[in-house]
Symmetry: C2
Subunit: 73 residues, 2 copies
DNA sequence: AGCAAAACCACAACATATTGTGATATGGAT
DNA sequence: ATCCATATCACAATATGTTGTGGTTTTGCT
């Protein structure tokens, strides 16, 4: 789970909910530029920024033990 | 999942692995002060900082749909 | 109580995220 | 091809995270 993956998830979820970037940035109360950068995986957002966006989209963050990654075995 | 919860998880995991804050901060390559703040839930780390610490501890971040929280129903 | 390790705090310097403005590029529909 | 909403980009100003240093407090153990 890196910044790019997170951006993809956010963008996908936003589209699924049928809202544009401007609306999401308003609802979440974060700057449009910030949201754009995060969705593109080019950002390194602060935890609060990320959590706010996820929450607005009905998503949550979880922390778990690393799982086996068969790709790299 | 807020900053405080994340800090608790990190601290618990670090203790479970038997390493002190100095060692973890060295292994992860982040400043000691930064780690301390995060563990205490007083920090608002950048995504890269958080991911590095989690990775060092053998933890990973996941994003999921919000689950029903019976506590608040 | 006394000791040593671990954890925490305060400060200043530096690095970087966030924001608004305004402009440009891209996409889909007719 | 044209139009319009959406998405992306560039820039400067501001806010905030990160770091090292040095000191203080707390914890765990005997």
């Amino acid at each position: 789970m890196d910044a790019k993956e997170i951006g993809t998830i956010i963008k996908k979820r936003r589209k699924h909910l049928g809202v544009n970037q401007q609306t999401l940035s308003d609802l979440a109360g974060i700057g449009l530029n910030t949201l754009v950068a995060i969705e593109r995986g080019e950002g390194n957002p602060q935890l609060s920024t990320l959590l706010t966006i996820l929450d607005t989209l009905g998503l949550q963050m979880d922390i778990n033990l690393k799982t086996l990654d068969y790709e790299t075995m």
